[in-house]
């Protein structure tokens, strides 16, 4: 009886996994086949193999430039977030600034409550008044403001977990606080900094709403926005271009996640993604 139940259970679980696997794979098949198809259609089909579609990217005036824009915006935001969050997290971890716990609590609360959706109206208005519309700087500052609270929170956890004895000895030898931070603390918390950098790059690279609101000029727009305009604006969508561009634009994020999961494991441990 129990053996029968066991076998039935195995069959049921295998069937469930097959169905779910198909559900998740189905939309992605197109991304794997169309870029290499000599005559891509919207239906998934076995491609008549070619690499010629990738030339379509070179012919489009905005495609390659938009990848450059994505690099500037994601890189700029990641740099600001990592540097400012590291400084703040270090100070908050080592010195009892008055009101520190309340500050951390409010930061955590804010980062969940003030989402792009809820704040798009005032952020658009603020950017307009500060002349930040259609600038890379505008995008970088706005998204950094949104990422910083969580980054500080995570990095403070990393800093809290590192011993302070090296810092004490360095201080005895007369190192300044910035020297100590740079030569001693940074090497120790490097995994934390890398996590924050990857996370910031990935979220800006894939982010759409803020970039869409803040940038009107297609020459400044990142890939997320250009790709959207490729399939929504004007007549028949150009499928060779959309498919190859989607693939090229997705690759860096996928590679980064593979790198992170290979290096640190991509799993929750009691709640944290490490």
């Amino acid at each position: 009886m129990s053996a029968v139940r066991h076998v039935l259970g195995r069959i049921a679980s295998a069937a469930f996994l097959a169905v779910v696997g198909a559900f998740f794979a189905l939309p992605m098949l197109w991304l794997a086949s169309a870029p290499f198809d000599a005559a891509p259609s919207i239906t998934v089909s076995v491609p008549e193999f070619t690499l010629a579609n990738f030339r379509a990217i070179l012919d489009n005036p905005y495609a390659l430039g938009s990848i450059g824009n994505s690099v500037i915006q994601a890189g700029g935001a990641a740099a600001i977030v990592v540097v400012l969050a590291a400084l703040a997290a270090y100070a908050l971890s080592r010195v009892r600034v008055p009101g520190r716990d309340a500050l951390l609590y409010v930061l955590l609360l804010l980062s969940s409550v003030v989402t792009g959706t809820a704040a798009m109206v005032p952020i658009f208005e603020l950017a307009t008044r500060l002349d930040l519309i259609d600038t890379h700087l505008g995008v970088i500052l706005v998204v950094s403001g949104g990422l910083l609270p969580a980054a500080i929170f995570i990095l403070k956890d990393f800093m809290d977990a590192t011993p302070t004895s090296y810092e004490e000895s360095a201080r005895v030898f007369g190192a300044s606080p910035l020297q100590i931070l740079w030569h001693i603390v940074v090497p120790v918390v490097r995994p934390g900094l890398a996590t924050i950098a990857v996370w910031a790059v990935a979220s800006v690279w894939g982010g759409f709403l803020m970039q869409y609101i803040l940038l009107r000029d297609p020459a400044k727009a990142p890939s997320a926005v250009i790709l959207y305009t490729l399939y929504t604006e004007g007549g028949q969508p150009n499928l060779d271009l959309i498919s190859t561009f989607s693939l090229l634009y997705s690759l860096p994020v996928v590679l980064m996640y593979l790198f992170v999961s290979g290096r640190y494991g991509f799993r929750f441990h009691g709640g944290i993604k490490q």
């Binding site: 197109w30 971890s93 980062s111 959706t117 005032p122 979220s203």
Partner: protein, 320 residues
């Protein structure tokens, strides 16, 4: 860990924290507060009210509540959160974590990889993949089901984006429940099984009581994210005829496209308040859990349940 090992001193410590706080203050706190003020004015993008906005008090709020389109949109948002997060992502995520829990090897890696991939691909890419999948004339789904000409996005826009978001976001629930299930001792399940408990009874009596906290955490976080999700805009843009116009799209179309900034700010403030309820409930939950854990086994570093919680909303918030 409050020893000032590097000899930073309070003044320099404040100097280290300040740049981050200024950026957060200007681009996160100030917009949130400004929403409250803008929401009380008749501010517009162009025209007379753009040059000289007047304070109109609660008019925007009464206008919103009296507006059919707003009420429809709020109701669609409720459907979207319940359908795609509370039911779709949480149930599918749990089912996956449960089915995969004692599997190793390629099957598990492939399934997990596919689920994760749908989570990490950029939103404009996945949006087009779904447009292609559901296309009326050449869509893969119609080819597969043998239903040529079925216009999924036109006839069932809400169902389409609910299924889409289930596909898009299940990874988080799957990973969180997988971690939660690891806290259930196998021996307890074994005992229950030997005592003749069915799978459902095991789930109800052994597993659920242990992972209650995780379930609640997961529900709050994915509801908050889904409520603020802008991604399906790239698929339906709220159409056809507003039949998939959830609250974020409503704000975007009325305020930024229609130019009614004051009115849009009022609706944004309502969204902020709803977010606040979710976030406060979540933080309260975390603190109770932290306190229990501190009592149970002392302060535990590196676990940082709070960290992902803080990171999560921001990830979705800005990526939205």
């Amino acid at each position: 860990m409050n020893t000032d090992a590097a000899g930073l001193g309070r003044r320099r410590a404040v100097g280290f924290v300040l740049p981050a706080l200024v950026l957060i203050g200007v681009f996160l706190v100030f917009p949130a507060l400004w929403t409250i003020y803008l929401g009380l004015t008749d501010y517009r993008l162009t025209g007379l009210a753009a040059a000289d906005p007047q304070v109109v008090g609660a008019d925007n709020y009464t206008a919103a509540i009296g507006d059919d389109r707003f009420r429809t949109s709020l109701w669609l948002s409720v459907q979207y959160v319940l359908g795609s997060a509370v039911i779709g992502q949480a149930v599918l995520g749990f089912a996956l974590a449960w089915t995969l829990r004692d599997r190793r090897g390629p099957v598990r890696r492939i399934i997990e990889g596919l689920v994760l991939l749908s989570w990490i691909l950029p939103s404009s890419v996945v949006a087009f993949l779904w447009i292609a999948l559901l296309d009326r004339d050449g869509g893969t789904l119609n080819a597969l089901l043998g239903t040529p000409g079925a216009a999924w996005l036109l006839d069932h826009p809400m169902l389409s984006i609910i299924v889409f978001n289930t596909w898009r976001g299940t990874a988080f629930s799957m990973m969180l429940y997988a971690a939660a299930l690891e806290t259930v001792p196998p021996s307890h399940l074994e005992t229950a099984r030997l005592a003749g408990a069915s799978a459902l009874q095991q789930l109800r009596d052994v597993v659920l009581p242990r992972i209650k906290g995780h379930v609640l955490t997961n529900m709050l976080l994915i509801s908050l994210w889904t409520f603020n999700d802008f991604t399906p805009f790239l698929i339906t843009a709220g159409g056809p005829e507003g039949r998939s116009e959830i609250l974020p799209f409503y704000v975007y179309t009325t305020a930024l496209r229609g130019g009614q900034l004051g009115f849009g700010a009022a609706v944004s403030f309502l969204i902020l308040l709803i977010n606040l309820v979710f976030a406060l409930a979540y933080l309260r939950l975390l603190r109770t859990r932290d306190r229990t854990r501190d009592r149970d086994r002392g302060r535990d570093h590196g676990d940082g349940g709070g960290a992902v919680s803080g990171a999560g909303p921001a990830i979705r918030g800005t990526a939205g």
